[in-house]
Amino acid sequence: MRLRAATTDRRRFRRGVLQYAPTILVMLAMTISAPARAFHVQDWLIDLTQSLAVEAHHPASGDPDFQLVREKLTLAVAYDVYRAEARLEGTKFLGLPDAWNGPDPYADVLEAEKLTVEVRGRDTRVWVGDFYQVLGRGFLLNLRKMDELGLDTTLRGAKATYQDKNLSLTAFGGFSNVVNLDSATWLKVSDPHDLLTGAAASWRFPAGLEVGAHGLYAHFRHDDTPENDRARQEAWGVGGTFEWRRFGLYGEADFLSASTLSYFVAANGLDLDYRPSTVDGLAAFLSALQRFGPVTVLAEAKWTHRPRLEATLHPGESTRGVAAIPYTAAPTLEKEDLRLTPHDSALGARVRVSVNVEPADAILAVSHTHFLDPPDAPGSLTPIDPYDDLDRIDHTTVSWEQHLLEHRLTLTGTGGFRQEKKKSPEPDHQLWYAEASAQVPVAPGFAVDLIARHEDFSDDDPLLGTTAWREGTLAMTWTLWSDLVVAAAADYSTRSTSEHTWFPNGSVEWKYTDSGSVKAFGGYSRGGLKCVGGVCRILPEFDGAWVQWVERF
């Protein structure tokens, strides 16, 4: 993402706007002129959702400013037991200088991202085209949409399910299909086209105990590309589950074997040497949930040893900064929205106790997670893991949720401490955090939401000393006349890698119907690591403005 030119070519931007203005205007006019309801005759249904965004970016990297127009159009047609869906995504960059130094950053993209035909019977469903798939709790396979991270990976192929009162069967196979424009880097990402096939079966016994098994086979493309750090050639995995929800019990065990191209330090001690090898992954997970009067206790334990699978990248893409796209995710046993690097290898447990304080209409929850240095598993040859030198992790969280005014006023407070001890001489990491939020009704149609969050980080390095930084968010949102939402917020970060300390921003959203809205945003927002459900990505800082119009017909 390097540009030869150093300043914005405004003439080119104006020319671009003029060039595309008629098209955009026609699009708007056509859409607005369409009837503002789904089209429904007898058993036919046509459902159209569109999202049009115009964005102006001022990159923190020092690259010239640029603008873009993004359109996402989803068309779903249903008739009787048939349903078809197509999602078209297009992005057009504007205002870019003529000369570029990189291969294809900011490349315009127009793709039919998702295409699916579905047939639904009483007990069976069949998909042809794009579909999501999860096996167990995601240790072996977890393909689903994660908007917050810009991830939306499907398999393009076929899938069939059968489900009756006791038996559940699934079989699937397809080639991986990712979102082709990475909104974190604006790099074009080619579909990996890794082949993933698998099956799952479960049987429910009369007492409610459900026992299942699943299997996965994957054949990876681009297996001769050393730049894929752990370029896999093929992988297979099997797993078993049991679930007895009546007693709150769930257990899962998985085994994964992947033949890879791993790198090692060569004999001369300087170069890297690539050799084929086999990496085995293991995962075991157990959770139990019980209620004792007003007290609910959740206990979870897991042992994982590198069961992670990622998409292989096309030649040249990883060197351009395309991030690995995960096929798997595992239970974190920690607070979900904290920005914590997920472990490949971990042995740990969490106990969470919630108390329903009924007289006060409140819930108090205390949670503690403890991780140990996991024992080595056989067949492990991959040399790099950020948690390899882990001694232990301790993470304690306390939260209070208070409802007042017949549940119309909610106050929440959370505080926690997380310590990650490494074996010397690696630095230890510490994190203190606190957050509070309130949803306050002011009058019918009017309300104020307040959120404050603070995180205090420190790295204690035995050689370099202590490095500390603070990050957080203050946000206030006003709802006016029910349909208008005005928000003002400020992120802050004292981390030395940030150019700014404060990142103020504001937004206005008008919900003009149940299904339509226009939202405008302007200002800065902090980038950095963002995690959802055990999957993390590093997102860039944002400096600029955007307007988004969403309508579901």
Binding site: L73, G208, W244, Y250, R291, T332, E336, V485, G534
Partner: protein, 174 residues
Amino acid sequence: MRRHALGFLTVLLLTACGAAGARLSTEAPAGVVGLADLVHRDVFGEPIPRAEIADAKVVMIDFWATWCKPCKAELPLLSDLQARYGAAGLRTYAIALDEAGSAAAVQEYAESNRFAFRVVHDDDGSLARELNPRLEMPYTLLLVGGRVVHTHRGFSTADFPAVEAQVRALLETP
């Protein structure tokens, strides 16, 4: 020509839909949802009978997640609505969009709060794909006869009287 591909295709699709709309009735509300085909069990493994959904006069679906603060502020209010209007024919399903790995956390939150409605975990995203493809949350839908008649994106205590008024009006409609 390539430059205009996005615009042309978009216009083509919109034109096709506009033309279709001119021929088709626009009186019917959006969305025919085979909810019973999509929801089989709640988060505690209890089967959800088809009749429970089919017999409901109004079905309310709310998308939430354990890490979503406004969602968690809204759920007790939805629970109140279910408690007050359940006898009149309201059935509420709170669909958790948490990842598969967070199933235990979803169960724990539902267990400790003892909501008056059923909680369902959409661990593979199949419900969201049909009803909430943009993964908005909180996102509340009101359905009558399997058709979506009202939707609410986001949550504010200011909005909630309007939601209750819509539920009441739908339940009172003969």
